[in-house]
């Protein structure tokens, strides 16, 4: 019964999306009385899609094995949290989650957005309906999550053991929230193109969605990177894997969009560029989804792939993006030029970094798609770090330098001599760090430059606060400071990991000690252990940092039995200045055990940095929303007062 309710709600929501599109188009063309229909259907669509997703969660909690999706992905012996995450840890469920979040976002816009011109809002909702229809069609036609089995299964299949991890339970939804936020930005962009009104007010209405999407993407990428780091047991934190790139590309576009939408809101400049970025950011989300879901590229992360569904997403992708670009080509000329600015100005710095971000985006995109292109000529290649690292760095490093300076500049027009003191200070810090690192023994050019820039950037991030009363600095400015500082922290972690990591691969007998970096590591014993749906051998390892306190590590080699699979569970000892990373492997014929150890100084800063960046975005979002609320209240008060005066 629950499954049927869920399905019915989904069909109704799809019908409302159609109504929202048709009503929206008519309303924009002059049938103003339809406006309330559009708003109402957006809200109802959100409620129905939400209901449908709750129904799916319910089925997974109850482990209703007559539903195909539950039988294929769940198991009665699974812990509750993984039953829940199983609901979206598969293709059908994740698509339902996507469309649900999208419908909820549409409902929210209809409910609270009052600043946007009525017509632009209606056009936005119509665009949102248009995008949603494609996803509803996709789900209802090719990936119905509520499909029943003719004969209920006796027991479920279980979830891929690699996915039975608490971090991963929240990783895909986080990215999806980001993607969906960008779909809202896309709808705004289309809405503004339709009505040709690209104004600061439009930018202020769009900004919270971009900020929110960006915060989620940042969190999603950070969490995904940490997951790959400890779960795959390879000791790396970024593999330039197509699936990772698929999440990085929307982030790059969203970062550029975030900054250009701020210029539009503050200065009424960069109008067409912002619209263009809105279209590109969502295109990258769709492309990412396509790459991940279609299995068209070889990936270590490709868990749920199906070429047929891939082609459906490709059709949607070309429909949305092609349509939006065509609209852009038709309308871009009629959007009048915004405010002007000098090259040396905050806008100038932001534009420079926007260009750099676009270049990096292009590089990642080319590298990700290149294997596909060569495959057409029957040549099989893979593109990895030797391409991405140096080529990306050529654009990333100058961008980071400008990022240190940009926030110190004034809007519209400025000159560098005004801020020469802080500039010289930051430059001195960078050069001094570089000198120290090189004297310590040059590691690699990129790592050395990374360390130097990180040091300078960490200080530069706080310079916008100099000479200001800290209590009166707006929250949004704090957000920028924290996010920029987070970039410096993450960069330091990356450079340090690449410069100072030490690796040890050894076969050790029980009782033996081996060294890695400043650590003494002793294998005390190996024991068999069992979990709810796996058995494992567990190494009992005692590690001492520099002769200090004992730390116990228990890396495992696990055998899951539903479905049957073997995984290496790494174990980490975290100190403030880095992590010891231990993996246990097979037993050699002579009885010794394989132990793989890494000492990674300051590696954790990568993810601390990522979290700081997200926190910065969050602060900024809260600051902006609070300002909006205040303004709205003031407006209402004024309206009330003028109403009284008339009476």
């Amino acid at each position: 019964m629950i499954a049927e309710i869920g399905l019915a709600a989904l069909w109704l929501a799809a019908a409302l999306a159609v109504l929202q599109l048709v009503g929206g188009v008519l309303a924009v063309r002059g049938q103003g009385e339809l406006a309330s229909v559009v708003r109402t259907s957006a809200i109802a669509q959100g409620v129905l899609a939400g209901l449908s997703f709750v129904a799916l969660l319910w089925l997974f909690i109850a482990t209703d094995l007559s539903v195909k999706l539950v039988a294929a992905n769940s198991h009665s012996a699974k812990p509750l949290i993984f039953k829940l995450s199983g609901a979206w840890g598969n293709h059908e469920g994740s698509m339902l989650l996507w469309v649900t979040v999208m419908a909820l976002a549409g409902g929210l816009i209809a409910l609270v957005e009052r600043r946007l011109a009525e017509k632009t809002l209606l056009a936005t909702l119509a665009a949102q309906g248009f995008v949603a229809i494609g996803f509803y069609a996709f789900i209802l036609m090719s990936s119905n999550p509520f499909e029943r089995l003719p004969i209920p299964a006796v027991e479920g299949n279980g979830l891929n053991p690699l996915l039975q991890d608490i971090g991963l339970a929240f990783h895909p939804p986080t990215l999806y929230f980001g993607y969906v936020g960008l779909s809202v930005a896309f709808s705004f962009a289309v809405g503004a193109l339709v009505t040709k009104s690209v104004t600061p007010d439009f930018a202020r209405a769009m900004r919270p969605w971009v900020l929110g999407a960006w915060v989620f993407l940042t969190l999603g990428i950070t969490a995904g990177s940490y997951w790959a780091y400890y779960e795959l047991g390879w000791g790396g934190w970024w593999f330039w894997d197509p699936v990772e790139n698929a999440s990085l590309m929307p982030w790059l576009a969203a970062t550029a969009l975030l900054h250009s939408v701020s210029v539009l809101a503050a200065r009424d400049a960069l109008r067409t560029w912002t619209i263009m970025l809105g279209v590109i950011a969502f295109s990258m989300s769709m492309l990412g989804t396509f790459l991940v879901r279609s299995g068209i590229l070889t990936s270590v992360h490709a868990f749920a792939v199906d070429p047929e569904r891939g082609s459906f997403i490709l059709v949607l992708l070309s429909l949305y993006i092609g349509g939006a670009l065509a609209l852009f080509a038709l309308r871009a000329n009629s959007i009048s030029e915004g405010e002007r600015f000098k090259l040396t100005s905050r806008e100038g710095a932001l534009v420079f970094n926007n260009v750099m971000l676009s270049a990096i985006l292009g590089i990642v995109l080319l590298g990700t798609l290149y294997p596909l292109a060569t495959e057409a000529f029957d040549v099989r290649v893979s593109v990895g770090p030797p391409y991405f690292n140096p080529v990306g760095a050529i654009f990333t490093l100058p961008m980071l330098l400008v990022m240190a300076v940009g926030p110190l500049l004034r809007w519209r027009q400025d000159n560098l001599t005004r801020i020469r003191l802080p500039l010289v200070g930051v430059a001195v810090v960078m050069l001094a760090t570089l000198a120290v690192v090189v004297l310590l023994g040059a590691y690699s050019l990129l790592a050395d430059l990374g360390l130097a820039i990180a040091a300078g950037l960490a200080i530069a991030a706080f310079l916008p606060l100099r000479g200001r009363n800290l209590l009166r600095v707006p929250l949004a400015t704090w957000g920028m400071v924290v996010a920029h500082f987070g970039i410096a922290v993450a960069l330091f972690g990356m450079a340090s990991e690449s410069a100072f990591s030490e690796e040890k691969l050894a076969a050790v007998s029980i009782g033996d000690t081996t060294q890695v970096g400043p650590w003494d590591v002793k294998l005390e014993g190996v024991v068999p252990v069992a979990g709810p749906n796996w058995t494992a051998i567990e190494g009992h390892v005692i590690a001492r940092y520099d002769g200090g306190k004992e730390v116990v590590l228990d890396p495992q080699s696990r055998n899951f039995w539903a479905p049957p699979q073997e995984t290496n569970e790494s174990q980490l000892a975290t100190r403030w200045n880095g992590q010891l990373y231990a993996v246990i492997g097979n037993q050699a014929e002579d009885g010794r055990w394989q132990l793989r150890l890494w000492w990674k100084p300051f590696v954790t800063f990568i993810w601390y940095g990522g979290m700081l960046v997200a926190l910065g975005g969050l602060l900024s979002l809260i600051g902006r929303l609070a300002t909006d609320l205040k303004r709205r209240r003031a407006l209402r008060r004024r309206e009330l007062r003028s109403g009284e005066a008339v009476a």
């Binding site: 094995l65 039988a71 089995l149 003719p150 004969i151 209920p152 299964a153 006796v154 027991e155 299949n157 279980g158 891929n160 047991g233 590229l297 070889t298 270590v300 490709a302 868990f303 002007r340 600015f341 000098k342 090259l343 100038g348 420079f352 260009v355 676009s358 270049a359 292009g362 590089i363 080319l366 590298g367 290149y370 060569t374 040549v379 099989r380 290649v381 893979s382 593109v383 990895g384 030797p386 391409y387 140096p390 080529v391 050529i394 691969l505 050894a506 076969a507 539903a562 479905p563 049957p564 699979q565 073997e566 290496n568 492997g585 097979n586 050699a588 002579d590 010794r592 394989q594 793989r596």
Partner: protein
């Protein structure tokens, strides 16, 4: 500088950056992309010694052995026509077994052994590395047979 010039300068900067980026990317891709070989290709037209490439094939049954240091393994990868010996120092990936498909990232050494930095094996029982799809019909059947076995064994309720 006039405003119009200003705009022009910005556009020129953007164009230069983007064109520069694409030229650089194309140049780097030509040099840094690592090619994929099956054993037949590697034997008949081997890559330069030391060049990063990938080798894909089936791990031949009975060839996996651990060297005395306890961490280095050697095995032979074949495609039904030719074979290449592979050496790998490290912990074998999940689900790495003889007779299954593997993709090795690494380089050919002067003595004809392929030294792998990394092994990509099947991720789960349904996963076959994409590159292996082009292997001979016989071997593909072998992989498929394995997969079906695995699926049948774990889904007793399926009709």
């Amino acid at each position: 500088m006039k405003a119009k010039h200003q705009r022009l300068v910005l556009i020129v900067i953007a164009l230069v950056a983007l064109i520069g980026a694409s030229l650089l990317a194309v140049y780097a891709l030509r040099n840094q992309a690592s090619f994929f070989y099956v054993p037949k290709q590697m034997v008949e037209s081997p890559p330069d010694v030391g060049q990063a490439v990938r080798l894909g094939g089936m791990v031949q049954a009975g060839t996996l052995k651990t060297l005395p240091d306890g961490v280095t393994v050697e095995f032979i990868v074949g495609d039904g026509e030719q074979t290449v010996p592979v050496r790998f120092a490290g912990i074998l990936p999940d689900l790495f077994v003889e007779g299954s498909g593997v993709v090795a990232e690494g380089r050919l050494s002067a003595d004809g052994t392929f030294v792998a930095d990394n092994l990509l094996a099947k991720h789960d029982e349904n996963y076959v590395p994409r590159e292996l799809e082009e292997m001979t019909e016989h071997q593909r059947k072998q992989v498929v047979a394995e997969t079906i076995e695995g699926t049948a064994a774990k889904a007793p309720g399926a009709p």
